[in-house]
Amino acid sequence: MHIPDGYISPATALAFYGAVLPFWWAAGQRLKRVLTGQLVPALALFSAFTFAIMMFNIPVPGGTTAHAVGGTLAAVVLGPWAAIISVSVALIIQALFFGDGGITAIGANCFILGVALPLTGYGVYRLVSGRSDPLSRRRLLAAAIGAYVGINVAGLLVGLALGIQPIFWSENGRALYSPYGLREAVPAMLIPHLTIAGAAEVIATVFGLAYVQRAHPELLERRAATARVAPSARRLTLAIFVLLALFSPLGLLATGSAWGEWGSDELAQRVGYVPRGLEELESLWSAPLPDYTLPWMSETASFAEQALAYILSAIVGIALIFATAFALRILLRPRQGQQATAGG
């Protein structure tokens, strides 16, 4: 899941470095204020802990084992800003000293696993958990959903980062970096994350959090007391989903249908690059990844119109996700009578 060197173009790698730097800076500023002098040892131990979590083999249903990132667990117990730094430091040490993940790809890996994963996971966790007791079972469910969404957003982002490589960086039909386009890279990343990696992340998060609730409740209560350290969960989740919506026109590149309209020979060549021999597999992929050609759009719609249509359909999808999340909150709201016991 860590992107190695040579898989993405230097331009992509640089863009990810640019994307991750503001998050590191913001996290550093926030943590400096909260941890004051304790900043250095606290971050070092948090990071070492996150590194150690990644070494665990988690028994997954079905008899296999998988590694977890633990980003959502770190965000829930240590807070999202501390999670950003500690997962990033752990990833940098992996890349520099253990050869896991590329050095040029540090920005990409840190943005995807160190920023997008914990922030999405934490945002969903906060949305689902609402104002429930930090030691309640609802928090476990919230962490499970958060971890699952977080790891899959990360998987999707890796798929997108790899999938755009042959589209933008090919020379006479020869792929210069990772050779798989979006329609292979995205499912190839998402399917294992929806299943095995997702399960490992959920198991690590739920059982880890359950243990902390049981054995070290003071950690979670202290976090609840310093909740203002966290960015507003709603604003944050919204920001991430807006970002995802803006990325949605990438679907246009995957289908290749709109590229013919550009007319240029060079681009036509790129369309021709979409593998022809894949027809057999396409029917298989179309199940997890529904065909994104929008049937109500006219054939003559311009690229911009189609892109807009994509963003709009992404907004519809995201609104539905939000509706589900709020419905869950309402359904899981403790009833009037239970409030007293839950609070005690």
Binding site: T36, A44, F49, F51, I53, Y211
Partner: protein, 287 residues
């Protein structure tokens, strides 16, 4: 397929406990060996870490940008030669730069041979309704991908195997990485091994206590509890470490000793390296 008793036993032996113990052991072993090679006397080991980090960063960039296939192959072979010239055992270079990431990449890239379009070279099949066609562009794409990944991995391995980690971290300053960040990286690296030992003991303890099979629910609860234990220990340790630092006069500011000095040999290494890499880039642009 029916599982024979031996194969079932083998599978049972490779439980999550053993896998974690093996993984932790391998990680510790790997870094210990890396540190041993970095202390040996060799041409790359003697170069100033700042010069090495700067030049290797440029080399990574050029390796990332080069289009030309023979040039990529030349870069990779040149790096392998550099590894031998700096007295790294060939076995270590081979394991680090051909197994691991490049082998994994080869497996990943295999299907691309049949998926990338171009002028057909040969076809396999039809087997049933499936015909696999390998095109010239597919072969070129896969070769480019593999060579680029191998060259990059070799570069990273050479840097780590010839530089002591403390020097490597200090050298990061030339990229204007803030001191606090460098210190955090260094301390994390130290405590990673402490926590890895802790995991090893937790898992070894479990392995020696466990007889027969355990339910998967129990396994998951135990893994969760170990993670929780690890978390509470590291939080407690962070308080202890802070107290120890304060006791030794730590005031929150980070000060470090910069003891590197660039010798003429280092400047020669940098200028030669930059010239060679620049030339490679120019050759690539002219093709």
């Amino acid at each position: 397929m029916t599982a024979s008793p031996t194969s079932r036993r083998r599978r049972a032996r490779k439980s999550f406990v053993e896998r974690t113990i093996t993984g932790v052991g391998a990680a510790i072993e790997q870094t210990v060996y890396a540190e041993t090679y970095a202390r040996q006397d060799g041409f790359l080991q003697r170069v100033d870490p700042r010069a090495k980090v700067g030049l290797f960063a440029l080399a990574l960039l050029v390796t990332g940008l080069v289009h030309d296939l023979p040039l990529l192959a030349g870069l990779w072979l040149g790096l392998l030669g550099l590894g031998i010239a700096t007295r790294l055992p060939f076995r270590v270079i081979a394991v680090r730069t051909m197994l691991g990431v490049p082998l994994f990449t080869g497996l990943i890239a295999l299907p691309a041979l049949f998926l990338v379009d171009g002028r057909s070279l040969f076809t396999i099949g039809p087997v049933g309704s499936i015909t696999l066609t390998v095109s010239d562009q597919a072969v070129l794409s896969v070769a480019t991908f593999l060579l680029r990944v191998s060259a990059s991995v070799t570069l990273a391995a050479l840097l780590v195997l010839t530089t002591r980690w403390a020097d490597l971290l200090k050298a990061l300053r030339i990229f204007r990485v803030p001191d606090v960040f460098v210190i955090v990286l260094g301390m994390t690296y130290r405590y990673v091994f402490l926590l890895l030992r802790l995991i090893e003991n937790l898992f070894l303890g479990r392995a020696s206590r466990t007889v027969g099979r355990t339910s998967s629910g129990e396994q998951r609860r135990w893994v969760g509890a170990s993670m929780g234990t690890l978390m509470s220990r590291s939080l407690k340790m962070s308080n202890d470490v802070y107290a120890a630092m304060v006791a030794r006069g730590f005031s929150g500011d980070v000060r470090t000793l910069a003891t590197f000095r660039m010798r003429d040999e280092d400047w020669l290494f940098v200028s030669l390296g930059v010239a060679l890499l620049g030339l490679a880039w120019l050759v690539d642009l002219s093709r």
